[in-house]
Chain length 716, copies 2
Amino acid sequence: MEMTNKATWIWYPGDYEIWLGNQMNNRRTERGAFFPPFWKMDSHYVTVEFSKKLDLAEPEEIFIAAEGKYNVKLDGKLQFGMPERFQLPAGKHSLNIKIWNQATPPCLYIKGKTVNTDDSWKVTYEDKEWIDESGKASDTSATVYMDAACWNFNDPSQRPSLFRLNRVAQQSVGKKEEKDGMLYDFGKETFGYVVLENLSGCGRVNIYYGESPEEATDMEYCETLDHLQVEGSRVTDLSVNETSQITGNYTLGNSKAFRYVFVTKDAGVQLGDVSMQYEFLPVDYRGSFRCNDEELNRIWNIGAYTMHLTTREFFIDGIKRDRWVWSGDAIQSYLMNYYLFFNSECVKRTIWLLRGKDPVTSHSNTIMDYTFFWFMSIYDYYMYTGDKHFVSQVYPRMQTMMDYVLGRTNANGMVEGLTGDWVFVDWADGYLDKHGELSFEQVLFCKSLETMALCAGLAGNADDVKKYETLASNLRARLMPAFWNAAKKALVHNRFDGKQSENVTRYANMFAVFFGYLSDEQKEEIKHSVLLNDEVLKITTPYMRFYELEALCVMGEQTEVLKEMKAYWGGMLREGATSFWEKYNPEEKGTQHLTMYGRPYGKSLCHAWGASPIYLLGKYYLGVRPVKEGYQEFAVSPVLGGLEWMEGSVPTPNGDIHVYMDGSQIKIKATEGKGYLYIASQQLPQASAGNVEELGAGKYRLWIDTKDEVVVKYNV
Amino acid sequence: MEMTNKATWIWYPGDYEIWLGNQMNNRRTERGAFFPPFWKMDSHYVTVEFSKKLDLAEPEEIFIAAEGKYNVKLDGKLQFGMPERFQLPAGKHSLNIKIWNQATPPCLYIKGKTVNTDDSWKVTYEDKEWIDESGKASDTSATVYMDAACWNFNDPSQRPSLFRLNRVAQQSVGKKEEKDGMLYDFGKETFGYVVLENLSGCGRVNIYYGESPEEATDMEYCETLDHLQVEGSRVTDLSVNETSQITGNYTLGNSKAFRYVFVTKDAGVQLGDVSMQYEFLPVDYRGSFRCNDEELNRIWNIGAYTMHLTTREFFIDGIKRDRWVWSGDAIQSYLMNYYLFFNSECVKRTIWLLRGKDPVTSHSNTIMDYTFFWFMSIYDYYMYTGDKHFVSQVYPRMQTMMDYVLGRTNANGMVEGLTGDWVFVDWADGYLDKHGELSFEQVLFCKSLETMALCAGLAGNADDVKKYETLASNLRARLMPAFWNAAKKALVHNRFDGKQSENVTRYANMFAVFFGYLSDEQKEEIKHSVLLNDEVLKITTPYMRFYELEALCVMGEQTEVLKEMKAYWGGMLREGATSFWEKYNPEEKGTQHLTMYGRPYGKSLCHAWGASPIYLLGKYYLGVRPVKEGYQEFAVSPVLGGLEWMEGSVPTPNGDIHVYMDGSQIKIKATEGKGYLYIASQQLPQASAGNVEELGAGKYRLWIDTKDEVVVKYNV
């Protein structure tokens, strides 16, 4: 929520986000072909009305800028034309401005002495203002108003439709001749627009991109490429049939992901150096982590870079191939983001885009599990940011999304894959049965119903709280009878025709752990029968390793998880990774690591879900998490997990929490909120100061004063 | 349905129509202010996929043009770039083309030897094509395909987004100096772009439009105007802040309705003549009517011109003020159109636009009755054209519209005005109670449910046939108990808290007549207690006079109706009308006729619903109507109604039916279909030829051979 009172561009909530998302999602290409998403792409309301009730002490002139054709109504009276300056009289007045724009979202900017567009303005797509038989407008109460949305376009010239990410010129770090062309190395995974310097002559130029040198030099199979036709100063991009006039340097029109660029050209073409315009969203690196283990530090840094590359207009999956916004990927990006950039605007944009507009015609990205992650991400966002307003804005779309889900449940009130549903779960190196009732999907569904009840409460909808609490508790009561297998000491993978399968997978079990759906005894059983059991199908995506390692951390297995992180993410680093991958199987070798989807370079080597140590280290080692929304109250439970020392910062809405820990002391400094450190009795005598509260069973918590650093010394 | 096999531009059904409708509906201005509709304006699907299964005897090159960014997939394989020419191999293949376009609807044109875009192509907004764990696309069966839509854009350069109506230059018929300006008279109501000839100099030019000279010269209150700023060859339209460079003539950018144009200017401005570009949709005048009564001929001609002015991209209400597409107005335009232009494309466009997209958030144009007219118009269209394909295309949107209605019924299964509903009925010169259950709305609702059942059958949805038949018969059974008042011999106006009101109005009674909801006895009672009873609130809009006179015609009162037509429409002509009005109260005088909505020139003097004699004369005097869809079977029941002779043509989908009648004979010539003439026994001996069928009770029907003219002579 924009809290300033200066003027800013405003729009209908979600509309700019959906429009901008279409720009983003439609930039994917595959070997020179345009490759848009296959799910329904929504669009903005083409005509909306912004309004504000005024009470002015004195007359005031306002400046008006709009994206679209507009009119101005003062106290219901239409004014002539589309005035750029307009005189408001003193006193109480209604100001309404209606804008129509087919191509880009209708946006408004008004600047006056006291009257400025911001999120206190109202907006509607349907004013339900009509005329009764006596000729006067009546019953405008039927109009549904939303609070206008905004971001950071605070200048009239910063028209939202013109928004572009930042760019900066970068050079390659090396080049060498290969086959019939030149291979450029940009030193690490990167993203942007290739620049062909001093391009002239006549003939074809071909550009092949690679996250690996093998990919870049494989003209037949590299995933992305560009073909240009040069005729003097005229250069035609053959994939989009667009010709530009150049003087010297030619910059490609579409961005690409690469570390290597292989360029071939006809003899008649002259070409100087090949450089790039690196493209990025400006973000603050507010979270940090350092420790005595340099490999872990490197994992954190590469994770942060992976996150930065995939944190753009939206949180995208990976930069090379899809470049799309996927809900299951996004929820992990959000969680990492809370421990890194704390960029709430990007979270909100991504949530709006993923939901799109009514009617709901499919699951999020067509994937059943991704719908559930979408619900869950909203309450996560609320807990980290405290932004209740956003929850109430998006709540109506949560309702219609859940109506869609509830309309597809079976006689047991459970979800199973119907025609049109993609039951994803994970990319697994082994058979995953997708038939019948999957325990994984029911666990996510149950959590989603609980989320609906919580968000209904935040949106002030008491009826819905009751409705969703009932639905959630009914489903919750069915979970264990349906899926728990006492002999296997685990939730089985699925149930078909009312019969449990013999199959046990990790997915439902690990979610049940951190959703608190299991007894302590069951958790302990699962740890050994599933999570630490090599007989159970292994997870080879960082995507599900995220949850697997989180489950272990929740059960206090930080020492084990640290070893896993070093083995798995360290393994990628030893393979030369400069960003983390979509999938990593330590048993594979060499170019096997590049393949996926049956294509030799199908795998993305920069995938947001690869960066999960960012989240794990912040939440389960530094041990910082919000207990009440927006860190009004927070808990710190640092765990070294085998490290000698560690330190780092976790961002909060308006501050941060800095934690240092080694074998003899914990130091905490928080700049906002009210938090506590869980401590054990042996730490108690050394606690430097403050408010110690006994929790029983030898446990205490030490309340942290946000003014000063808290130091707790151990009895070593 | 486009039946040619030549190439034509195609799009997602309804999408181009909705987009074009936004252009149309957003052209309204009020005294120089942009005045868009207040209901939700929908938009096209921004990304759609067109597809076609091919089976080619030999390879074939196709030419591809698209509105938007596109890709080409052959047998699931993406092709490089956006090829303008593409080689298709022989044999069986799948061709898929996906297009993204935010600003205008994605449209496709393909021309080859045998492969051409037409309505045999499929299109979807959501291909539900995904990749299972083995990497192959699966379960595309979930995709909902529609048949692509088209119109008459048969050349690659005729991009649908560039469509414009035709224009032709016209001169004024007179001018005179008035006050400080010049008043131009264009001789009759017209529509188009004012042209300021040989404009130069410096200063302001003001243009005031009027359907009457009073309006044009009333600078304070005329409904539409334009202000220009001239600076040499630069002319700025001050209402839209748009500057153009001119050489000589300046043509206004927005069209206006007027007969009179009053122009004032600063002394520094030089201006030659003022002319116009008349703008129109090219239509065929396929229907005709002539008789011995010259006043009636004039009524028909002025009605036809009124219809032509309001038959544009869509059927609009009136040309001066709203210029919007309103459902209640449109259904009458459709019916008149079937007896005049038989322009089916304009009917289909208007039906798509009025419905818009899901979700349904209000009634059609926010008006409850207009929703019901929308349903009814679809079955009307089917009966006149036989176009079953259109019904099946639009049927899913009928379902969701009816779901909206059913979601707002009360415990009696009846509709009443809820918050957000505009219960319109009519503009009445007296109080119309809109509270509780209006008989008028229930009668329309019942007919709509019957329509749903019929259209469900046409769309092949047997479950829905049953569902809607049950709903319709349940409501039908409740109508008479709820509203018939035996003492008043009429349906009462409404019921509130289960209690009949004392009020009787014409609306429900006249609809119940031609919907066949009354016994013969009740009809006869209504005729005297309501329709011919001057005590009952009089109808003063041609809108409801349409149905009032239709009800009388259905009961054989053509002689009475002819008098009414001459009095009412003849009355407008005597007031100087050159097109028919939105409302006419014969008791008003002079400039009273110009006022409406509390504004001195608020009334539209060219309103489509003013043209109803076109329909009445074709259907109830020439007496031609389809009995089976698309005139496969038709009935002719000519009635002179006091005329000495009449003749005319009624268009059928691919031909026409010509009828001549005087006191001694009837002559009929039909060029398609199988029809019959109802004849009475006294005509029988003279019937010239053919197949006479006895119907009993002294009634016969004479089957008409479409090859020859049928002549039936009377015993005079």
